[in-house]
């Protein structure tokens, strides 16, 4: 085994090893030294409450920003830019990597695109199909007939299966599509630096102001090629129809992304995102053998530009489907698998740390800070709900007679109870904000669902455990044991996306 491989394996083991060590040692401590365990639990609870209040404040700020910019006419702002800003020459490429999604998923995405408040002749749309999908060519033809005339250019690409060095990932398909676009730009004589590319999940329905907002930020950002542009993903397409369980999880996911948008030093691309086409070519496109292509592309840029690469948040929404299935159990499974795939983003850690080892131009402080952030976020994801929900009560149950006589045994449930009551205030904020981002209630859905939308938040402790920690532990454990995951698209309602 060569040195690089050993290092890779070590960095693959670290996140899972750390998470498991924390969980196991805290469980053991609850039996062996419950007083120490109680001290750690109270400290963690207090830390978590402060963190929750802090993050909720960021959420409110992000939410306020989103609503401030909701009715902004971004195209008008683009048109007001000076002539040498390059707006007139700017092309927007949109690539939809398609696996086996049906027309019922793809059509709304393209319709949203065609309804954009942006010059359609400046849009280049690429439907990137997988060759192995037997319906790919049929779907491509149907969609070409419907949409090819609506945009500046409309391309259908078919990614061959089993190319050397590739895994069956979305990134491989997107890369194939992007390479086809590159040829198209070459033939059209369009410079790469005049093009921005957006890679969208197949169910992504953009806000009509999205391209105006993206164009404006791209043209006005300093070092615009050294940045990715991240819209706010909201899982709104079918939110009224989705079971409460899935709805809660996806609203929380949207909020997490909004919170991240306020923490620029940690902000990483997620799901649908945009970037300079020039940069995409320079960093050799999306990874073709990793599942978390959406975040790895950011790290590729970060490493390529020696740490001088950032994510610019766009306070405009892209709407996606809530993943759910025919019943609550299946929905739970679907959600679990989706979150495990997201948690598989932990594969970024070995990728990034290996990249840092090779890169001598990024400062050590930055390397340590970014590595720590990455590791901390994944380990916290895996352990926090377990500590709060499972390990928290253990000293009380298993501390024994001596521990039960101590003041800390008496105070532990009181203090944690008090602290969690305090977090109810933050929960109320989340509930209110979740209400404000809901799309209008469709006809046929009772007003009573509004009440249910509030009541369903009482299931949060259960959900955070099942869909919070468990998938992350699962993903990290798989990475620890080199059981690499393959990309499996998530079933969303009656669609597969």
């Amino acid at each position: 085994m060569n040195k690089a491989l050993i290092l890779k394996r070590i960095f693959e083991i670290i996140p899972g090893g750390l998470s498991w060590s924390i969980i196991v040692s805290l469980i053991l401590l609850s039996f062996l030294h419950p007083v120490s365990s109680a001290i750690i639990i109270i400290s963690f609870d207090f830390y978590w409450i402060i963190r929750t209040v802090y993050l909720t404040t960021l959420l409110v700020m992000a939410h306020q920003r989103l609503f401030q910019q909701k009715n902004e006419d971004w195209l008008a702002r683009c048109l007001k830019l000076t002539a040498n800003s390059g707006f007139s020459k700017l092309y927007q490429i949109v690539i939809f990597p398609v696996y086996n999604e049906g027309l019922e998923v793809l059509r709304p995405s393209l319709l949203a695109l065609s309804g954009s408040h942006y010059p359609q002749e400046k849009l280049i749309v690429v439907m990137a199909f997988e060759e192995r999908n037997i319906h790919a060519h049929d779907h491509a033809l149907i969609l070409e007939e419907e949409f090819s005339g609506r945009f500046g250019a409309y391309l259908s690409t078919f990614h061959p299966d089993g190319l050397p060095g590739e895994s069956r990932t979305k990134g491989a398909n997107a890369t194939w599509g992007a390479k086809a676009v590159r040829k198209f730009l070459d033939t059209q004589g369009i410079a790469y630096e005049q093009a921005v590319i957006s890679c969208f999940d197949a169910d992504t329905c953009v806000d009509k102001e999205y391209f105006g907002c993206l164009g404006y930020h791209f043209l006005t950002s300093p070092k615009r090629h050294q940045a990715s542009y991240q819209p706010m993903p909201v899982y709104n397409n079918n939110i009224w129809q989705a079971p409460f369980f899935a709805r809660l999880v996806e609203i929380s996911s949207s909020f997490c992304q909004m919170i991240e948008s306020m923490r620029l030093e940690k902000f990483v691309t997620f799901s649908s995102h945009s970037m300079s086409f020039k940069t995409l070519v320079q960093i050799d496109y999306w990874p073709t053998n990793m599942i978390s292509d959406d975040s790895v592309i950011y790290w590729k840029g970060y490493l390529h530009y020696n740490g001088d690469y950032r994510v610019v948040p766009l306070y405009v929404t892209v709407s996606l489907d809530v993943a759910y299935s025919s019943n609550i159990w299946r929905t739970m499974v679907v959600q679990y698998k989706q979150k495990r795939r997201w948690a598989w983003g932990v594969e970024n850690f070995p990728f990034v740390v290996n990249g840092f080892i090779k890169n001598k131009k990024i400062s050590l402080l930055n390397k340590l800070r970014r590595s720590f952030h990455l590791l901390e976020s994944h380990v916290t994801w895996a352990v926090w709900a377990v500590i709060l929900v499972v390990i928290g009560p253990l000293p009380i149950f298993f501390g024994g007679a001596f521990f039960s006589q101590t003041a800390i045994a008496y105070n532990l449930p009181k203090i944690t109870g008090l602290l969690f009551k305090f977090t109810l205030l933050t929960s109320l904020t989340w509930i209110f904000l979740s209400w404000t981002i809901l799309p209008p209630r469709p006809k046929g859905i009772s007003w009573f669902k509004h009440v249910l939308l509030i009541l369903e938040w009482i299931f949060v402790p259960f959900i955070i455990l099942v869909i919070g920690s468990a998938p992350a532990i699962d993903a990290q454990t798989r990475l620890m044991f080199a059981k690499y995951m393959e990309f499996n698209p998530t079933l969303k309602g009656n669609k597969v996306l």
Binding site: M61, M262, T406, A407, A409
Partner: protein, 322 residues
């Protein structure tokens, strides 16, 4: 964007500050430490937790009333002995000396404050000699030996009704009990058991006449209902017996007894009899043993008979027995 990042930075550092400032206080509180402003030192304290039934009692600590009412906890108490008094209007007060240890909780959580005027309620309306309580069905059975009547009411002293008349010839009652099915009662004296069916039975299958079971040669000590409400388990001065509650039934002697006055307990749920009996040691002295006799399985065949309606039970034909 820059302004919001400045706010965010401020919030971040504020959170860090709050965490590191607040945590020592929370942990010291949790561990029972109290900061002494005079000495500028942490002192380890203990606490008393008080829970009463009913709640809401006033709490006096060393004769000083504290603002909280029970249930309550008194934190940050310096180690030592404390006089705790609990007072609740119309209830007897409670008082004790409680030792507080550093870092520990002294729990006083089993206090019942009894009312000064207990909730005393007379249930019976007429004379009675003895009674039985059925907590499951919430009934009281009264036996009046003088008037030779059995009556009952609910536990709230409502719905009184006479349910059976005792036979005239039964002058003395040594014991009685109502069957599990609540349809009959047995009474017994030294040599006779009588099973009386309740008047309230509308079921015609029940024999209207009282059943008499005579034990002329043995002295009856105690009688129990089997869970099938048909068999009686009888403890005499000579045997443990079972006997069906039908006219003319003969007892089956299950165990012979040495002791003239054994005592017994019958577990109706398990159909098990626990009884004492003497045994002679090799040295000639006697000592007591406690025995357990399981009756459910042994009475299986008889139980089969019991499946037939009362009053129609016929002895098995010889061929059937074989």
């Amino acid at each position: 964007m820059y302004a919001s990042q400045k706010i965010r930075s401020f919030l971040f550092y504020l959170s860090v500050f709050l965490f590191f400032i607040g945590l020592p206080f929370i942990l010291s509180f949790a561990l029972g430490y109290k900061f002494n402003i005079r000495t500028l030192k942490f002192v380890k304290t203990g606490l008393i937790f008080i829970k009463t039934q009913p709640a809401g009692a006033k709490i006096y600590l060393n004769d000083k009333l504290i603002p909280e009412k029970s249930p309550a906890s008194m934190q940050e108490l310096l180690p030592g002995a404390y006089k705790v008094t609990l007072e609740l209007a119309q209830h007897y007060s409670w008082q004790a000396q409680v030792e507080v240890e550093a870092g520990k909780v002294s729990r006083i959580d089993k206090v019942i404050l009894f009312p000064v005027r207990p909730n005393l309620q007379q249930l019976n309306q007429e004379e009675f000699s003895s009674f039985r309580i059925d907590t499951e069905k919430r009934l009281v059975y009264y036996l009046d030996q003088e008037k030779k009547v059995l009556y009952r009411s609910d536990l709230e002293a409502r719905n009184f009704e006479d349910i059976a008349s005792l036979p005239d010839k039964f002058t003395q009652v040594n014991g009685w009990d109502v069957s599990v099915d609540q349809k009959k009662v047995f009474i017994f004296n030294q040599h006779q058991i009588s099973v009386i069916f309740f008047d309230t039975q509308a079921d015609n299958e029940y024999a209207a006449s009282t059943v008499f079971l005579d034990h002329p040669r043995e002295k009856i000590i105690n009688v129990f209902w089997h869970s099938d409400s048909y068999h009686l388990v009888v403890l005499t001065d000579k045997h443990v017996q079972v006997i069906e509650s039908r006219q003319g039934a003969l007892p089956v002697n299950l165990v012979g007894l040495n002791k003239k006055s054994s005592t017994a307990f019958y577990d109706t749920k398990e159909d098990t009899l626990y009884f004492s009996d003497n045994q002679r040691s090799p040295s000639g002295s006697f000592y007591n043993n406690l025995y357990k006799l399981e009756l459910s399985a042994n009475l299986y065949v008889l139980e089969k008979l019991n499946n037939q309606p009362f009053g129609q039970v016929q002895p098995l034909e010889k061929e059937e027995r074989e």
